[in-house]
Structure formats: structure tokens, C-alpha cells
């Protein structure tokens, strides 16, 4: 017996669906071919994630935003997620971003070449939760988040995005 889960994107429009994010995604695509673009790809990637976060907030700051009981994304959680994105180095800005059904922000890194290198980080205000898989190795933890991204989060991101096996 097979079951389908999350067969509908019960989150709002995925990052990239909104007009602003679409525009930025288009510019990112063009940069892949036009290396002489004035703004760097890293700069646009940060803009892309931030605009996606703003769009997600506008769509998910209500209780039951999905029509199926999801919790609202609070201003505090959104602000803390913005802080974290601002503090990430450019080379780590390769995450997908989404809202969890309990109203927290999730950032997901997955290595395109080696999909079993995967990190899911959830920003719940002043607390971070993560689970990371690097091939057969698994790491997970709950950390408090002040103003500095914890070292072990940076290490996990580095391990996931590293192009090597």
C-alpha cells in the first residue's frame, strides 16, 4: 500500500512563485549565461531568499493559512530568520526556504550531485533545530540562537554544499 504525503504544496507559493522572487530568479538564470552582470550572483541569491521570506510572511501570518490548521508565522520568527540569512556567508546561500505547518521557517540545503548530503534547519525564534545527513552519517541538535550562527550549523552547511563526496 502506498500513501501520498504532502501531495499538495500545503505551504504557500514556493519561493520563486511571487512576482518579485520570479524577477530575481530570472536575473539569476541570466547571470548563469552573462557573467558581466553588474550585481553578483551571490548578491541576488541573498535578495532572492529575502524576498521569498517576505512573500511567505505575507501569505502565512494568519492562523490556518493553509486551510488545514497550520499555525501562523510570527513576526518574531520571520525577523530571526532574516537575521540568520543576513549572517550567512554568500557561499552558504544555496538553501531552499519554506514554512513549516507549525509556523516556523525551514531552510533546506541539499547537495545536487549527492542528494544524501542534506540539512534541514528550522528557525523557531531563538531556537534552532536541525537534522543533517552526510551520506551514512547523521547529526541533529537543538540550539539556542543569539546573534551568531552556531559553529555546528556552519559546519553542517559546509559539509552539505561541499562538491566532493
Amino acid at each position: 500500500m502506498n500513501y501520498v504525503a504532502g501531495y499538495v504544496q500545503n505551504t504557500p507559493s514556493s519561493p520563486g512563485v511571487g512576482d518579485v522572487a520570479k524577477e530575481i530568479a530570472g536575473r539569476l538564470d541570466r547571470i548563469s549565461f552573462e557573467s558581466k552582470e553588474s550585481c553578483s550572483k551571490d548578491c541576488l541569491q541573498r535578495e532572492y531568499i529575502n524576498s521569498a521570506l517576505i512573500e511567505l510572511y505575507s501569505e502565512c501570518s494568519y492562523e490556518g493559512w493553509d486551510g488545514h490548521g497550520a499555525a501562523a508565522l510570527s513576526e518574531n520568527v520571520k525577523r530571526r530568520a532574516s537575521d540568520l540569512v543576513r549572517n550567512l556567508p554568500n557561499e552558504m546561500l544555496t538553501a531552499d526556504i519554506d514554512i513549516t505547518p507549525d509556523g516556523q521557517v525551514a531552510m533546506i540545503w541539499q547537495n545536487k550531485r549527492f542528494p544524501t548530503k542534506l540539512l534541514t534547519l528550522v528557525i523557531g525564534g531563538d531556537t534552532l533545530y536541525y537534522a543533517c545527513r552526510i551520506g551514512g552519517q547523521r547529526f541533529k541538535n537543538k540550539l539556542s540562537y543569539g546573534f551568531v550562527i552556531p559553529h555546528e550549523i556552519r559546519t553542517c552547511i559546509t559539509l552539505v554544499i561541499n562538491p566532493g563526496r
Binding site: A5, Q9, N10, T11, D66, V122, R133, K142
Partner: protein, 119 residues
Amino acid sequence: MKVTQLLPIKIENRLETSVYGIAGCKMSDIRAMCQDWIDEAAVKSIAAKQNPRNCYGYAKIGRETLNTTNLELDIDNNPLGHANIIGWPLEYEDRLEIVNELKLLAAKFSPRVTPNLET
């Protein structure tokens, strides 16, 4: 597939992820399920009505896959075919570890399918 789609929500003090059984279903049946889900959301929530969803795909998870994660299936058939994945651990990071595994295992079972539903 996004891992956030698999994370459970607390309903009446129980963590559950809503799923549907699709054994024997045709693609058209699955599309109809997706549309029903979207329509139901629009009825229940003004926010969902104002920001209508599209269905971009679904993840197929074998029951045996659930068993490897120590999760259980509670089939309520409300509506027909509906079930909840239950048995989620209390610690959030443990849940994340499980959804990471499900994401990887589900991908093996099912390539991404795009019914391209419009609301």
C-alpha cells in the same frame, strides 16, 4: 518534494501528518484528490482563498518505508482514503531527522509528478 510537507501538526494533542492511500488509484483520481484538498482549504480559510494553491506534485511513500522510521499509520477514511501518519517523536530535531529520511526514500519510490492543477 519539500521536507516541510511531511512535518506533522499537533491536532488534539497528537502529532499527525495527513496523507491519502493511493493503491489502485489512477492519475486522474490523484488529481481529483489534490483538487478536493485545495477546494476544501479555500472554504476553510480566507487566507487560503486569497492565496490559492497549486498542486505541483506529490510524494509516494510505501508503507514499508514508514515502518523503517517507527512511524505508524492511522487510517480514518475521512474522507475516503485518508489516513494520518502518527507516532512522531516529541523532540523536534528527531522529527527533522525522520522527514529527511522520508524525503530520500520517497524520492526513490516516486519521481516528481506535476499534475499542473490550477485553482
